[in-house]
Amino acid sequence: MSENLQTSVREICRACNNDRARMMDIVLAVQAKYGCVSSEAMDTIAKAVSTHRVEVESVVSFYAFLSSRPKGKVVIRLCNDVIDRMHGADRVAETFRQELGIGFGETTPDGQISLEYTPCIGMCDQAPAALVNDVVVTELHRSTAQHIVREINRHMDPRRLVTRLGDGNNAHQLVQAMVNNNIRKAGPVIFAPSDLGAGLAKALAMSPAEVIRDIKTARLRGRGGAGFPTGMKWEFARGANDQNRYVVCNADEGEPGTFKDRVILTERPELLIEGMAIAGYAIGASEGIIYLRGEYAYLRAFLEHMLNECRNWGILGQNIGGKKGFHFDIRIQMGAGAYVCGEETALLSSCEGLRGDPKNRPPFPAQKGYQSHPTIVNNVETFCCVTRIMDKGAGAFAQLGSSGSPGTKLLSVSGDCRSQGVYEVEFGIKLRDVLKMVGGEDAGAVQVGGPSGRMVGPDEFDRPICYDHLATGGALMVFGPECNVVDIARQFMEFFVEESCGYCTPCRVGNVLLKERLEQILAGRGEREDLAYLQELGETIKTMSRCGLGQTSANPVLSTIQSFPAAYEALLKDTRTDGFRPTFDIGAALGEAQAIVGRRSVHFAD
């Protein structure tokens, strides 16, 4: 057995050229085959790729989808984000527990099935949803959950759980998913019909510098959330003194409430691939990487197929478009369950086969990114915009949207509204108009941009969605008038506490402390001073953290305190006059002693 394992692990390593930089591929393959990366497997991998065992352990222990201890042959991962819980994920969880006879984080005694929670899997528009190994199951309720467990117990084949197919390419032979696209509004940039290869052909007719000029003229900014000017990023990379450059697509769509990239990857992958090729031409790169989040593994075979198609169509390959010397190809790098890998330098760490720790900046990726070479990292939607800009012209693109934010934006709308799904709208649209469009007019609060964005109330619904006002990577979570914003903030903090990489102090510790105090407040133990405490703590995390995760993780708390002070007021007690706060319940602490001696304390009778 152990001989077998070693032989097989060595084979997996050899298939990856015994390349330490391909650690993610290696450990994912071992995990898939053995249900874990055991201690013995780690030793074998370390020897094969000439690294230290602890370095392998370091990677394996970082990602949620990897494990050093054996898991069941089938792992059920129920999404427990705010939206899924709004739609009944807790009832589904209860059913899974009952049917399997185990709790979350446990494996059935026969070692067959494991049950876990996972943060947003990009299915908020069809929640509650779960992953059963790589298979996505959506719109769960008690009876479907019961059915899933019984079926799995019978045949142990998650693929057979898919009894209906979703629309569009979700029904493609290589996808076969019950996922629905839910495209509610198609706009002129992403979902309009496209002329395959036209954008690339026009780009190749120009010089690379002209392509970058056009991207700048279009004033394209990153669609992932941070909004950095794309043309400027490309120019930095092109200007870097290193001919070995890389184009990386960030398809690690992990911000809870966001799922628009899922739909692009399903319906418009060629637009993305073409955009990456244009970027390759513009910055002088010959290699591209699509970093695909582990949760979207069900799209991998289809995307590999589409890459092949693009090679056949001459969008990828050698001397593309007859342009001598322009070679460009793309590989897919799978992630393994880590929100922080959506941060561009953490994503590059992961591509290099390391823990998903963000890197110190400077140097910036455009100077020294993937394997220390100049690298541009752009969002899926951004590359699609690039293709369209090349095809239809920078002017046409710049005319869409608002002056500071040209173009369209895909919004992932979920929660308390009639039509959840993806909407392609022009920048500058008022939040109120979006709510009208989606059937969420009576919303009490909207989380714009996911947990790292901000929570806004009705008095801010007239603000426009654009980079200068309500900036968003695309997530709009709609909450009804009765929602408890403090509890929603607590749930978001739970998410950040789990997803912090742990590298820097403020994010690793501070988020835990924010969550602790929110819990105190929600339990009725909050005091007026807590608001100042939360704000100071939140500002500390925001200012002192090393990467975008920590710099935004306090937003749920800070923005709800700012926009919903009454929600906090209602939960707070009157200030004690002595300035002290009880940090524990002395009556409860004495309980055990009182039980032993058989009498109650005369001082703390209650």
Binding site: R53, V340, S500, R508, V509
Partner: protein, 236 residues
């Protein structure tokens, strides 16, 4: 050799060499920027965030940020001191630090920083994590209760000792230092003379049988606050 540049720290102009970080340039000019994960001779890590300064208004860790011509840096401001103090307090509540009987007391950089910042007790609630002690090695013990995840042992072992005895495992608050063996430090090739052992700023990595050897009054930080040597060295 190479040309120097002028940078401004708290209104004072100092000279920096190209390639120097803000922390290094400041130190050379006798300006102390509080730090914890930074250690001379190791690749800067930028993880503790205690050395955060404002560079042209933006927060940056001074240990990783290169000096650039004309940079205007704020270091010793009331706001930054408060933010750093918060970070130091976080480190205290995150682990289990009992200075009164810790062997490192008086020589501990975390404790010394707390004194320098005038922290009598943290305002944050203690998290009381359950952490392990590994005494399997004949000459060195690891007490994870006191570890602040600064990566000094990780870097020193890798870059100075050439051994990779230590590395981080897990993420978020569960992150911890692991050893290059199935589980125990005793099964690694660590030697008590390794630079990694001496690199620990707190009492997490300790040499055995030498605890409390230096009497109170003669320990590193018994008389002057941590960082005093930097200003003093410059005056000479």
């Amino acid at each position: 050799m190479s040309e120097t540049m002028t940078i401004t720290i708290d209104g004072r102009e100092i000279q920096a060499r190209p390639g120097q970080t803000i922390l290094e340039a400041a130190e050379a000019a006798g300006v102390y920027i509080p730090r914890l994960c930074y250690m001379k001779g190791l690749t800067p890590h930028g993880s503790c965030r205690v050395c955060t300064v404002l560079v042209n208004g933006r927060p940056q860790s001074a240990c990783t940020q290169p000096a650039t011509p004309g940079a205007v840096i704020e270091n010793d401001t009331e706001r930054l001191l408060a933010l750093r103090r918060n970070i130091i307090e976080m480190l205290f509540v995150e682990g289990n630090h009992f200075c009164m009987f810790c062997e490192k007391s008086g020589n501990c950089e975390l404790q010394a920083l707390a004194y320098r910042f005038g922290i009598p007790a943290p305002m944050y609630p203690y998290l009381w994590p359950k952490r392990e002690v590994d005494a399997s090695h004949p000459d060195v013990m690891v007490d994870h209760n006191r570890c602040i995840l600064c990566a000094r042992c990780v870097r020193a072992s890798r870059d100075l000792d050439g051994k990779n005895v230590f590395q981080f495992v897990n993420r978020n608050g569960h992150k911890r230092v692991a050893v290059n063996a199935e589980a125990r430090l005793g099964d690694t090739d660590l030697k008590v003379t390794d630079k990694a052992v001496a690199a620990c700023p707190v009492g997490a990595l300790l040499k055995k049988r030498v605890g409390y050897a230096v009497p109170v009054g003669k320990r590193l930080y018994d008389h002057e606050p941590i960082g005093s040597d930097i200003a003093a060295a410059h005056k000479k």
